[in-house]
C-alpha cells in the first residue's frame, strides 16, 4: 500500500480532475497527487467526439489538455486503464482493479457519467451506438466507413442534434425520435422548439416525438426500432441513443456518502464526508435557479467545480455558488440557446422576425430563462446577468451591473418588448 504523509487521490480523468490538479498546484499544494482512471486515454472532451467522427477535428484535438503534459507539469501520478473498485472513506483508502491501494488524506471524485441505455429488448445489439467516449467515436467512425444510408437517433438532446447534423452532412437519411413532445425538451420552450423543428423538417429530417422506444431488433438492413403505442417501426442502418448520462457512482458506498442522481456537494464541492470532494458530471451541485441540487453536465461547470475543489483541498477558502442549466448549440446553420427555466414562468415575451427568435421567461418580475435562435451575440450577457440577478436578488437589468452588460441587456430587452 502506498502510504505517507500528504496524499490526494483524484478519481476520474476528465476536465474536473484536470482543473483540480491545476488548482492544487497553483494554490501551493506540494504533496503527492494520484489520478485513478478506467480510461487509457488522456483527458478528452466527450463533446468533441461528434466533431472527430465528422472529421472536423483530428484525433489529437480530442484531448484539449494535450497528451500528458499536464501530468508532468503539475506532477501527478496517473494510474490508467483500471477502474476504482473500492473507496473506503473511513480508512481513506482507494483501491483500483489492478489492486493498487492508496491511503489518501483527501479525495476528489470526478468519475463522470456514462450514457444511459434503457433496459429494453435488443439494446445490446452492436448496431446500437452511444456517443460519449473515445471508443464510442471509434465505433461510429468504423460504422460510417460502410456508407450507411439511414440513421435513427433516439434522444432530441444537444448530443442528439449533433448526431443528426453529422449524419445529415454525410448525406444520410435521418430520423430523430424522442419520448418528449418536442426537440430539446429541457432547454427549449415548445414554441421555440416548433421553429427549430420546422427548419429540420425543411432539411428533410424525419421527426418522431412522443415516441417511447420499446424494442430493438436486428434486421438484414441493420436495425429496427419499435415504439410503444405505435405500429410504425423505424428501420435504419444504425441507431444512436443519446437520452442522457448517468453518474458513475458504482464504487461508492451510498450508505455513507450522500448520493441522489449524483453525489451531493456544497458550495465548496465537499460531500457529506470530511476530506471527500466531488466535481463534474458525477456531482450534484446547486442549481441557483431552483435552489435544488442538480447535475448540470456542462464542460465549463465541471471545470469550475474541479477548480473549486482543488483550491479548497489546498486550503484556499473558495466557493462556487452554483450554476444554471444553459446550452448553446450550433448545428445545421442555426444557433440555439437555452438558458435557465423555460417552463415555470408567469410572463413570456417573444420576438420572431422569421429568422431570429427570442423568448424571455419571467417569474415574479425576475428573468428566469431565455431561448434564442440565430442570435448568440447577447446570450452570454444574459446568462451571466441572470445568474448574477439570482445570486444577488436583483432585477436582471440593474445599474449594479457593468456598463457594457447593462447596455446590451437593455438593448435586447427593449427589442423584445
Amino acid at each position: 500500500m502506498l502510504t505517507g504523509r500528504k496524499k490526494i487521490a483524484i478519481i476520474g480523468n476528465g476536465c474536473a480532475s484536470a482543473e483540480c490538479l491545476k488548482a492544487l498546484r497553483e494554490s501551493g499544494y506540494s504533496g503527492e497527487i494520484h489520478i485513478f482512471t478506467d480510461s487509457k486515454w488522456p483527458i478528452y472532451n466527450p463533446m468533441l467526439t461528434t466533431y472527430y467522427v465528422a472529421g472536423k477535428i483530428t484525433f489529437d484535438q480530442l484531448f484539449p489538455y494535450g497528451k500528458d503534459l499536464l501530468y508532468k507539469k503539475y506532477r501527478a501520478h496517473v494510474h490508467p486503464a483500471s477502474p476504482v473498485v473500492t473507496l473506503d472513506h473511513e480508512e481513506k483508502i482507494v483501491v483500483n482493479e489492478d489492486g493498487l491501494e492508496l491511503k489518501y488524506n483527501q479525495c476528489l471524485i470526478a468519475s463522470g457519467g456514462s450514457p444511459f441505455l434503457p433496459p429494453i429488448e435488443g439494446i445490446e445489439s452492436n448496431r446500437v451506438y452511444t456517443m460519449r467516449k473515445v471508443d464510442d467515436a471509434f465505433r461510429l467512425r468504423e460504422a460510417l466507413l460502410e456508407k450507411p444510408e439511414k440513421a435513427l437517433v433516439i434522444g432530441a438532446s444537444m448530443i442528439g442534434i449533433k448526431m443528426v447534423e453529422l449524419f445529415y452532412q454525410q448525406g444520410m437519411e435521418v430520423c430523430l425520435a424522442d419520448l418528449a413532445g418536442h426537440i430539446f425538451p429541457l432547454a427549449a420552450h415548445p414554441e421555440c422548439a416548433q421553429v427549430i423543428e420546422n427548419r429540420l423538417i425543411k432539411k428533410g429530417i424525419k421527426l418522431r416525438f412522443g415516441a417511447a422506444l420499446e424494442k430493438v431488433e436486428e434486421t438484414a438492413r441493420g436495425v429496427k426500432a419499435s415504439f410503444k403505442n405505435s405500429n410504425e417501426s423505424e428501420e435504419a442502418d444504425l441507431l444512436v441513443i443519446c437520452i442522457g448520462v448517468r453518474a458513475n457512482t458504482d464504487f461508492i458506498d451510498q450508505k455513507q456518502v450522500e448520493v441522489k442522481q449524483g453525489i451531493l456537494i456544497d458550495e465548496q464541492m465537499r460531500t457529506n464526508v470530511p476530506g471527500l470532494y466531488a466535481a463534474g458530471d458525477v456531482a450534484q451541485g446547486k442549481n441557483t435557479l431552483s435552489g435544488e441540487r442538480q447535475i448540470i453536465g456542462l464542460w465549463a461547470n465541471a471545470r469550475y467545480q474541479g477548480r473549486t475543489a482543488g483550491r479548497n483541498m489546498a486550503g484556499v477558502d473558495e466557493t462556487f455558488p452554483g450554476n444554471i442549466p444553459h446550452n448553446i448549440t450550433h448545428f445545421m446553420g442555426m444557433d440555439f440557446v437555452g438558458i435557465g427555466d423555460v417552463n415555470n414562468y408567469d410572463k413570456m415575451e417573444k420576438k420572431f422576425d422569421g429568422k431570429m427568435f427570442i423568448q424571455f421567461f419571467w417569474k415574479n418580475g425576475f428573468l428566469i430563462g431565455t431561448n434564442f435562435i440565430d442570435t448568440y451575440t447577447e446570450a452570454g450577457v444574459i446568462k451571466n446577468a441572470l445568474i448574477n440577478s439570482l445570486i444577488n436578488n436583483n432585477p436582471v437589468y440593474s445599474h449594479s451591473l457593468p456598463i457594457v452588460q447593462n447596455m446590451l441587456i437593455k438593448k435586447i430587452l427593449t427589442e423584445v418588448k
Binding site: N45, M47, L48, Y51, K56, I57, Q61, P64, Y65, G66, W299, A300, R303, Y304, H326, N327, I328, T329, H330, D335, V337, I339, Y376, T377, E378, A379, G380, V381, K383, N384, A385, H399, S400, L401, P402, I403, V404, Q405, N406, M407, L408, K410, K411
Partner: protein, 174 residues
Amino acid sequence: MVKAIYLDINLCCGCGACVVACMDQNDIFPEKGQPAYRRIYTMEEGQFPNTSFLYVSAACLHCADSPCIMGCPTGAITKDRQTKAVIVNGDLCIGCHSCALACPFGVPRYDLEEKMQKCDLCSERVEAGLQPACVRVCPTGALQFKSINKVLGEKEFKFVGNIVSGVHKVTNRR
C-alpha cells in the same frame, strides 16, 4: 508590468476611430463577413429635455479569470503569458459558440469559417513597445493602455476594465 486597455467613459464620444483603426490593424473587412473586434455601444435614457446618453467603446476585456477559456471545449482560447491577453488559436476553434455563451460582455463573433474572432490586445505591438491600435488612434484619450495597478490607484472610478466591475449610472454623466 501588465497593462490593460481602459476606457474613460466620460471622454468616449462614440466616434468609432478605434473600431476603424482596429480593422486597419487586423485587416478586418466587413464586406467579407469578417466581424469587428471592437464595437461602439450607445446608451440613451430619458426623454427630451431630460435625456442623458453614454458611449462605450468595447472589445474583449481580457478578463483575469476568463469564462471563455473555461467554456472552450478544445483549449483554443488561452492566456498569453507575457501580455496576459486572451488569445484564440483559430486552428483549434471548432465554431461551437460555447465562448459566446460564456462571455459576460457579448464579445465573441465568428467569421465565415466559423472561427471565433476577437481582440488580441495587439500583443505583438505591445511586445514591440507600441500601444494597441485602438488606444493609439483615440482622439479624445478615452482609451488608455495602463498598468493595472495604476488604474486601481485612480481616485475617481471611471473605467470599464477587466478588474473593475465597471459600475456606472448613465445618469451620472450630466
